[in-house]
Symmetry: C2
Subunit: 248 residues, 2 copies
DNA sequence: CGGTACATTGAAGGGGCTCAATCCACGTGG
DNA sequence: CCACGTGGATTGAGCCCCTTCAATGTACCG
C-alpha cells in the first residue's frame, strides 16, 4: 500500500511502458528532494525565469493567464505526476503562471539534469519528452472543446478527461472522483460563465449522465457521455516506446 | 538573394540563436530530399502511424479535426519552416490530420535521425526541441483566443501572430502579407462563423486598424491592434540558447 | 457563358452572458 | 451555543454576441 518508491509520475508512466525496477528507481530519484507549496501560492510566475522542470507530486495546480480586464483562461490542470515546467523552461521568461489550488508537494529537476539523463538513460528521458507531446495533445483537445463544442459537450469532455487522468495516478476509481475545481474554475477552463457551468451540470445530472455528491463526481453513463463529447482516450495514452527505446 | 542553403527553417532559427555555418549546413542537410504535395492533399492522416517529422519548406498547411457533424476546428497553421510531425510522431497513431492548403514542398526527417542528431549535435537538436515548446505556446495562446477573447480581439490576435510568423521566414514585409486562408478557414481556426469573420474584418477596416486589398492584408495600426488583442510577441521568440548549448 | 469558389450583407433566432438574489456549509469569534 | 462572514452552489430574468438562414455580388475558369 505504501511502497517505498511509487510516485505518481512513475505510476503513470509504468502503465504506458514497461519500466524496469531500475528505470522506476531513476524516475523516483529525480523527484527528490521535494518541497511543500501552500494553497493559492504560485509555483511559477509569468515573466520570471526558470531553470528546470517542476514535477507535481501531490496536490492540484492550474496554469492560467489573466487578461487586463480580469477575464481568465485556464490552460491546463496539473494533477499529481504532471510536469509543469514545460514549455516555460525553454523560454527566457515563463509565459504563464502556475498556481497551486491545494497545498502541494513538488520537486524540481534542473534542466542540466534532464539533459544528462538524456545521454545516460535515453529510455527514461524519452518517457519524459513523451509527456511533453501528450501535454501538447491535451492543449489541442482543449482547443477543440472551447472552439467548436457546445457547453454540454465541453463539460462532458472535461469531466471524462479528468476521470481518465486521475485514474492513471490512482486518484479516481472506476467511475468517480473528487472534483478538485470549483464551478468558477471549470468555467475559466472551458470558456464558460460559472452560472452556465452550473446549469450545464444540472442538465447532465437530469439526463442521467452523472451524479454529484458534494465534491464527488460520479459518472453514471460513461459510454453515453463519451459519445456525446466524442471523447477518445487515445490522446492520453498510446506511447510508441518500442522504437524510441530500442536504439538507446 | 538565392543562396544555396537558406531553407525557411534555418532562416527562422538563425534569427533566434547564433548558428554557425556548420550548424546551418546541418539543419539544411536535414531537409533533403524533398517531395511535393498537391493542394488539398493530406500530409498526415489521423489514425495512421508516422515514423518521423515533416518539415514544411514551401506552402501552407493546416492541422485540424472534424467532428462528426461537420464542425471543424483548425488547431494550427503551418507555414514554411514549421515542423508538422509533432506531436504525432510520439504517438502510435496521428491524432489529427494535416492538409496542404496550397501546393507544398516538404521533407521528412526520420525519428532515428533526430535522435542521432541529439547525440552528435545537441546544439542543433536543441533548437528543434525548442520549436516544439514554441508550438505548445502557440496552442496555449490560441486557447486564450478562443476561450476568452471577443471576435475582434480574436481576429486581431490571429492577424498579428500570422504577421510576425511570416516575417520570420521572409514572407511578410513590415506590415503586410498575403493571407493564405479564406474567411471560412479563419472562422474554423478561431471558432467563429465565416459570416462573423467577415463582419469583424469589416469592423477592423472601418476603425482604421487594417486594410484588405484582394488577398493582401495591410496592418495600418500595429500598436493599436496589439493593444486591442493584448498581443505580445514574446511567445514566438526568446529562446534560452546559452544554457542549452553550453553543456553540449 | 454557366459553374464554382469566395466575399458580402441582411434579418431573425438562440446559446450563453450579465445582473441579481437566495441558499447552504463551514469556520471563527463572541 | 449562536451570530456572523465567507466561499461556493443554485436559480431566475433579460439581453447581446454570434449563429443560422438567405440572398446577392464578384472574380475566375473551363
Amino acid at each position: 500500500m505504501n511502497s517505498p518508491v511509487a510516485t505518481p509520475l512513475t505510476q503513470k508512466l509504468a502503465r504506458l511502458v514497461p519500466l524496469t525496477a531500475m528505470d522506476a528507481a531513476i524516475l523516483d530519484g529525480l523527484q527528490s528532494p521535494t518541497r511543500v507549496v501552500a494553497r493559492h501560492r504560485e509555483l511559477i510566475s509569468a515573466s520570471t525565469k526558470y531553470d528546470g522542470l517542476l514535477i507535481l507530486i501531490e496536490g492540484i495546480a492550474i496554469r492560467s493567464r489573466v487578461l487586463h480586464d480580469g477575464r481568465r483562461q485556464i490552460l491546463n490542470i496539473a494533477i499529481p505526476g504532471d510536469m509543469i515546467g514545460f514549455p516555460a523552461c525553454f523560454f527566457e521568461a515563463a509565459l504563464y503562471s502556475v498556481t497551486a489550488l491545494t497545498d502541494a508537494v513538488v520537486s524540481s529537476v534542473p534542466f542540466a539534469r534532464l539533459l544528462g539523463l538524456l545521454e545516460e538513460q535515453p529510455r527514461v528521458a524519452a518517457t519524459i519528452f513523451w509527456s511533453f507531446a501528450c501535454e501538447a495533445a491535451m492543449y489541442a483537445e482543449h482547443l477543440i472543446d472551447v472552439g467548436r463544442r457546445s457547453s454540454v459537450e465541453r463539460v462532458a469532455h472535461f469531466l471524462l478527461e479528468l476521470l481518465v487522468r486521475l485514474q492513471a495516478v490512482g486518484l479516481a476509481d472506476e467511475s468517480s472522483y473528487h472534483m478538485p475545481l470549483t464551478q468558477e474554475l471549470i468555467g475559466d477552463a472551458l470558456g464558460l460563465s460559472l452560472q452556465h457551468v452550473n446549469r450545464t451540470l444540472r442538465q447532465l445530472r437530469e439526463e442521467g449522465f452523472l451524479a454529484i455528491d458534494g465534491q464527488t463526481i460520479v459518472i453514471r453513463n460513461i459510454d453515453g457521455l463519451a459519445a456525446l463529447a466524442e471523447f477518445d482516450r487515445a490522446y492520453l495514452g498510446c506511447f510508441r516506446m518500442a522504437e524510441l527505446s530500442a536504439p538507446g
